[in-house]
Symmetry: C3
Subunit: 439 residues, 3 copies
């Protein structure tokens, strides 16, 4: 399988880098300032929206963006009429639809589906939301909504609230915030926090540290007065002067999310927390922008819609702009360049590692052994190359020295990622000629 080249697809917020995001935000602002110039920029092009999981708003936003640039749209809006009904593989569908269009937007219920579709397709594929792991264009519009207000995001504190575990929008946004040097305050509903390995990956990639802050309001939202915050390692000396856990004094934005009931999510004590009108009087939220990927439930009552801090409808509107900017970068790169994205290595399917441990991974549906990739600088991890699930790997070998180490050995961090090789058992490694180096 090939690596995904730059801007041949957009699959994961994890693949963003600061240069890409900053250029994207500036270009989106330019587009907002002068949309008429681009009215026919994609005339004659056809964009396909393949939505194998229902999502009216996302689909309409992508389609509106295409039409406003003069492109045509072909669409699969109803999963029950899709080719999967005739038992076709995602890869076949991707190959075929790429014969009909110049770019495909794919939404799929399986984790990692977008990457797999992109490998099969002959045209760029944008992830319109796949499974539980990512929704990168949502992140782009979320970031643009903040950028329009603030310019630079560095040093801002953004709270992510609600069902962090199951929602893909908050996960994707966390990557984006960290890359732009904003603080990521975690306000999960009870029992719905991220797994530690996800937090660790962000911290490792962005050079962030995990700290704690407190505020009485947090107890209402998460059940505890203390919350975890990811922030640049060097930028937070202020906290050190506090006695114990410092008090958070100002939140710049609060990103609310709904409970992902359709993924079986439930809060630990049966109550899903939300923002209440009374909370808005607290000094913590005095200048706090309110965002929500929508649709909402009770966590964001309609009484707040008229509040001057509410940005969630503007946020939805910004989605059209953000997607227009992406289309232009992908289909008219000669006029509208964006810096390269670091492609995530896609790895080779590895029969020895068996199937992906994530039952919702696209590789399980397609019958592919799990392909792996290396993540982490300080602490190496092996992840499924499609769904980012942590693989149950206990040993790492170095292809160059043929030495085998326990995964958590400090030696492993010194091996170049391209030389790393995962093993579940020492015997398997030894059969391939690796020798044990840390007896």
């Amino acid at each position: 399988m090939r690596l995904l080249p730059v801007l041949e697809g957009l699959h994961s917020a994890e693949a963003f880098n600061p240069g890409f995001l900053r250029a994207f935000l500036e270009r989106t602002r330019a587009l907002e300032a002068g949309p008429a110039e681009f009215q026919d920029a994609l005339a004659g092009r056809v964009i396909a929206t393949v939505f194998e999981e229902p999502s009216t708003r996302t689909r309409l936003s992508f389609e509106s963006a295409a039409l406003r640039l003069g492109a045509g749209v072909i669409s699969v809006a109803d999963p029950k009429t899709s080719s999967a009904v005739k038992g076709e593989s995602l890869r076949d569908t991707a190959r075929i639809v790429s014969g009909y269009s110049d770019l495909i937007v794919w939404r799929h219920p399986r984790d990692g589906a977008s990457r797999l579709a992109a490998q099969a397709a002959q045209v760029p594929v944008i992830n319109g939301g796949d499974g539980r792991i990512g929704h990168p264009t949502q992140t782009l519009l979320d970031l643009y909504t903040l950028y329009r207000e603030w310019g630079d995001l560095a040093g801002r504190t953004v709270g992510l609230m609600g069902d962090l575990r199951n929602g893909r929008t908050a996960r994707s946004l966390a990557w984006g915030l960290a890359l732009l040097e904003a603080r990521v305050l975690q306000l999960p509903a009870p029992g719905l926090a991220w797994e530690a390995s996800f937090e660790q990956r962000i911290a490792d990639r962005a050079g962030y540290a995990l700290r704690h802050v407190r505020h009485p309001l947090f107890r209402t939202w998460t059940g505890e007065e203390t919350a975890r915050v990811l922030e640049p390692r060097l930028a937070t000396q202020g906290w050190l002067f506090g006695d114990g856990v410092p008090l958070l004094e100002r939140l710049d934005a609060l990103y609310l999310t709904r409970l992902q009931e359709e993924r079986g999510a439930a809060p630990r004590d049966g109550v899903y927390p939300g923002l209440r009108p009374a909370h808005l009087a607290d000094p913590l939220l005095e200048q706090c922008l309110l965002l929500h990927p929508l649709p909402r439930r009770q966590e964001l009552p309609e009484e707040l819609d008229e509040d001057p801090r509410a940005r969630y409808f503007e946020q939805a509107r910004n989605g059209v702009l953000a997607r227009q900017a992406l289309y232009l970068a992908m289909l008219r790169a000669e006029r509208w360049p964006l810096p390269e994205l670091t492609p995530l290595p896609a790895g080779h399917p590895d029969a020895e590692l068996g199937v992906c441990p994530n039952p919702n991974c696209i590789t399980r549906a397609e019958g592919i052994p799990v392909p792996w990739r290396v993540a982490g600088k300080v602490q190496r991890l092996f992840l499924c190359a499609y769904c980012d699930a942590l693989l149950p790997v206990d040993y790492a070998g170095c292809r160059s020295t043929l030495r085998l180490h326990p995964l958590h050995s400090p030696s492993v961090a010194r091996i170049h990622p391209e030389n790393l090789r995962p093993f579940r058992a020492r015997e398997a490694a030894q059969r391939q000629g690796y020798t044990w180096s840390e007896a």
Copy 2:
């Protein structure tokens, strides 16, 4: 909530006025004569069709009209993939879709949904059919079909036949015919006539009188030889010379409708009447145009399709033209002005009046207390501002004099509508400082 401004939306045929209709008919004819001029009139615009109730023909007609003017179309065609599945309110959906488009066409199973959507949306909303109460663009194309044949409609007699109670097309058309001074002959299937209050509202608004005419054919269609006709008060002296109920000699058009089975309708005696080839030989129908909103059932047999009086397929075709004319008036008003519509006041939700008595009203689904508006010149009525249901109001107060009257008191007709205030009980009014004036 704000009043609906002129041509920011089109929700009800009741809001039409003669000036608007006449200008619309003329402009539609101009469009038919020279469509090429408008081929790119809406280039760069995006029109959304949100159909939360299936209706292939109406959706396709609206979409074809948009495309023929150069606009793009985004569409929600399948209720099961809509946001309502995620539990979103109509108002939120309207706000969001209006961030993606320049105009929304909305079809919804709930009465009054279009008005509520328009209040939330930031762009114009056209009612593509909501619940049981109205289908104003169908009326525009019906009127255009007659206008193309006749020019002026004044003095023409148009029979409305079938399930008048449950069909929204015949109700909407009745308003349009009355405003253009045509006679409205009611030929309901047994047990499926309009409620008296609806007939009364038309008569009151248009200055019409209710009279009766007879013809042997009526018995076949309605079970009775005598039928009710609404007609201009002054235009019918001819009838006075007859002995008892006069015989109708000529019907200019017959508008057939099907039984609304999906709304639970059933004719009283189990038989739904229809037109038969033999009827067409009757002198009454000699020059009678045959219209039907389609789809049809047995009430309009296929044998009649080749009859030179049949206009129902042409009528469907005219829908594209009528919708093009509307789009132009709403999105290119500087080039294509139409006179103002009288906005229907939307009223404030009134907790004291409780919930709307119509179980299918959109306010019931959205959890809003019923907002009211005043209708009627001679006999004041309080209606639900969304679904037009008659509210159970027994007393009316005058905000200016703080006097309270029984609703049917002649004094009430002399109070300016803007000063009227509805009450269900004298005590509630007295608590607000009204004094009883007619002991």
Copy 3:
């Protein structure tokens, strides 16, 4: 009912003729060479895709083709939202949709639906696949895929493999191959061969003979080493020198098809044959192009995708081009002429012949007595004019001489088809004045 004029519709590969096909192939190649020239060729036109049977790929291909020529698209993609839900006849839907569009692509689960829709519609109708009998645009793209490789198809040997009985693509392709003088090798799965009358019609029309060839691989695919081949009568003297059934030495293309499970198909012994990687090493397939209309199942394993002989994804891509060429011929005939198609006579519904014997015929759903047409030069057949089912006719009369003959009498072949009249019983003919001529 009227005859279907030239290129007012495209309903059946049987209606193709060699001149049409050759001109189509050349023009499609010209379009592929210079697509930019046609980018706005259909600006202002609206094409409707009405898919009453789900088929994502075919719909997207037709829609992409329309958009790439600048046309707009209106679409019915979900059968459950179609007018049929309100009980509308196909003819009414066709009349109405033709008021909204300039051309309709229709897919329908009933045999012959496309022809019936075309008769009712006011605009050209293209068969996007109806029932079990035909899929003519698939044939055009299949032929184009071969033409791109070979130029002339004459003398080439093409194997059709799999569920020949129930699949419409192989049936349609057989007509096209025969008209272009290619050999049609039948490789049906056990129990899933064509009925003899279908094979006979092709042979009769194209002047082909039925012969047999053998190859050991055939046994794997069909259960028998000998296979039937249709080929030009004069071009096969080579075979005569063999001893018994000659060995086939070279197959130029193999067209695989999947089992039509949704039509209740099942192979005789429960095993559906397919191509295996090992087969590709056989000299028979050394230069054999691999085609498949897709979606595929196990009959075409993914391991073959990288084989240089695989053409099935290119084949799918060619569908857009083929459909563009058709649209241009139908909507811009002044710029893009194609030779005339021989219209199939549609016949008059004939109450005496009763209902069509094919339970899936569109006439059964619409309640129409079966209309007939005459097929065959050597052996006259009476077929249902919609679904091509063989009608149970035992006698043929001559309208000119009023003589009645047994259908298989040699005299019948000498009567001009327009004078032929079918009868199920001698008595019925005699009542109409025919006299028995062959006692």
